[in-house]
């Protein structure tokens, strides 16, 4: 008889069974690693200008060419990863905190359900990008405000998933038992319900990470996001627009970085969802 494995180990084993998921995890690890190690692995300094060699096509010295100030595009893409990935991660944290609170209250406290859910319906009635730029128009463009705006934009998605899971959980016997023992609402939500919400939160968080990177890039592109002096993938593409005729390689590195990161995150998110879905487990 084999030793029973912990749910976590089982999940990881099930996740790693699919090669495409493993490959995507490797890509994410590579991009995150490159972002963290940018000051050491980047071939040049992020603001080092070399006007003589401006707008040079990709060569062995500059793998992705140089921009209008003669800055190395690969270097700036690596530094851009630091900002774009941090924004994505912070948005996931903020939206998860707000959305979990909202979803738990709506799902567990029946009196609040209708009001809180109509509120999330109303928030979801705005297209993501429109709500984000409207918030940023008021708050002003800055890294912190982009995180705040996108955190608010993605809160309803978390809230809906958490509420749905809470509605199922609250009917289960362990919650009933805790209620019978006289546990307070706060205790039931934090000690008994919250730990059971971790898996749907991780799945949702992975997708929000991907969406946040895409939306942040679009916001920066529109000039309403992270100020243009900070290299983010969106800002690099926005800044290269006018040089497209002379230097079409400028948008390649940041564009591919966005596509690769978002694609890998979505594949991992799908893989996680399949691995956590009890319906699919029976089929496997």
């Amino acid at each position: 008889m084999t030793k029973p494995r912990s749910p976590g180990a089982l999940l990881i084993a099930r996740l790693l069974r699919r090669r495409i998921v493993v490959a995507s995890l490797a890509v994410i690890a590579l991009i995150v690693g490159a972002a963290i190690l940018a000051p050491w692995v980047a071939p040049y300094g992020p603001t080092k200008m070399d006007i003589v060699h401006r707008l040079k096509p990709p060569v062995s010295l500059h793998w992705f060419g140089t921009d209008d100030f003669g800055r190395d595009v690969l270097t700036r893409t690596l530094y851009g990863a630091r900002v774009s990935l941090s924004v994505g991660l912070m948005v996931v944290v903020l939206a998860s905190l707000l959305g979990t609170a909202l979803g738990l209250f709506a799902g567990y406290i029946r009196k609040l359900d209708a009001a809180l859910m109509r509120f999330t319906d109303a928030l979801m009635a705005f297209p993501d990008i429109l709500l984000a730029i409207a918030l940023l128009a008021g708050l002003g463009p800055s890294l912190f405000n982009v995180v705040l705006a996108l955190g608010i934009v993605y809160t309803p998605r978390v809230a809906r998933v958490v509420r749905g899971a809470t509605l199922v959980l609250r009917e289960l016997q362990f919650v009933e038992a805790a209620e019978a023992l006289g546990a307070s609402d706060a205790r039931i939500m934090l000690v008994h319900l919250l730990p059971n919400l971790v898996s749907p939160l991780i799945v949702q968080g992975t997708f929000i990470f991907a969406y946040a990177i895409l939306t942040e890039a679009a916001l920066s592109f529109l000039g309403a996001g992270v100020p243009p002096t900070t290299p983010t993938w969106g800002n690099m593409i926005a800044g290269s627009q006018q040089y497209m005729n002379q230097a079409d390689w400028l948008i390649m590195a940041p564009g591919l970085a966005i596509v690769l990161t978002v694609l890998s995150l979505q594949i991992v998110g799908d893989g996680l969802r399949d691995a956590l879905d009890p319906k699919l487990q029976r089929l496997m």
């Binding site: 009635a125 297209p127 128009a137 593409i237 966005i258």
Partner: protein
């Protein structure tokens, strides 16, 4: 039916009120005095005070909210500070272009999404199915502005097949207008076909296992007759929902696409308003677009009954 309709309508009114309240709050979280921000640093205190009175900002908040709701109900969304004309008029002027762009993009997304999704489901597990899944995931990861810039550079600038930007001369005919809209519609519609592909595929897979599909096959109907008449029609409801959502997403996406392609539509108006801090325009755009979203969702709900006669409200 009447009972359902009135319940659905009441729910819609509640959501719209919440939407209005959110917009009201957003317009008032502006740090500092909105009137001063709008007028810029050259304004005299008297100008600022006059604008505050004109906008009703000197009233207590509850009074402001009541006045604001009254204005919305009479379709008065205020005047654009920069354009110096009613927000509703400015939006209506530009609505035609944005409607065409959104309509074409939805058509592209649906015309790619639905057939490809059906095909992937029918050929489940084959190389084709896997390729479709891979390509749709890739499409969903593409930033539409990046696709747009790439299309402009290669198909418009280098090959000259399409206009580089804009919407043609003021008197341009329908053909020329459409020619200007093809690339933007592709840039906007293509990434959004991914969701439709995935939903259609999943929905078809659910249905293809049903007994009535087996029965239809057993009585000797051709494979495609079964797929289209028996399976697809029943798979349509989730697909309709996602098409409704796609329309809403595309209205948001138009903001970015119109900027990339220099199209003078509603999206362009919104971006200029954000950069100029023209708050009445931003506020009006939020209200009108979210109102459309709520209406589209309601229309999709009502369409269910048309598609599926079993659905009785």
């Amino acid at each position: 039916m009447t009972a359902y309709l009135s319940r659905r309508f009441a729910g819609m009114v509640v959501v719209m009120l919440m939407v209005a309240a959110i917009v009201f709050v957003i317009a008032r979280v502006v740090p500092g005095d909105p009137a001063a921000v709008m007028l810029g640093s050259n304004a005299t205190p008297a100008d600022v005070a006059a604008l505050r009175t004109q906008l009703g900002l000197d009233q207590p908040l509850p009074v402001q909210f009541v006045l604001y709701i009254r204005d919305i109900l009479s379709f008065n969304l205020g005047n654009s500070i920069f354009l110096n004309r009613p927000v509703v008029d400015a939006m209506l002027d530009r609505a035609e272009l944005t409607s065409w762009l959104t309509g074409l993009s939805v058509a592209i997304a649906v015309l790619i999404g639905v057939p490809v999704g059906v095909l992937a489901a029918v050929r489940r597990g084959t190389l084709l199915d896997q390729a479709v899944t891979a390509v749709s995931m890739l499409a969903a990861s593409l930033p539409s502005f990046w696709v747009g810039l790439t299309l402009i550079e290669y198909l418009a600038v280098r090959l000259g097949w399409f206009p580089v930007a804009g919407y043609g001369n003021p008197g341009a005919g329908l053909g020329e207008r459409l020619h200007h809209l093809i690339l933007p519609a592709v840039a906007l519609g293509l990434p959004n076909s991914a969701l439709i592909i995935r939903f259609t595929r999943t929905s078809m897979l659910d249905v293809l296992h049903e007994d009535y599909v087996r029965t239809a096959r057993a009585k000797g109907l051709g494979p495609w007759a079964v797929i289209i008449k028996h399976a697809f029609r029943n798979a349509l409801i989730p697909v309709l929902t996602v098409i409704g959502l796609t329309i809403a997403t595309l209205i948001g996406g138009a903001i970015v696409t119109e900027t990339v392609f220099g199209l003078p539509g509603v999206g362009n108006l919104i971006v200029s308003a954000v950069l100029r801090r023209d708050y009445p325009v931003i506020q009006g755009a939020l209200l009108i677009i979210s109102g459309l979203y709520v209406l589209i969702n309601m229309a999709v709900d009502l369409l269910y009954a048309v598609v599926d006669p079993r659905v009785r409200y």
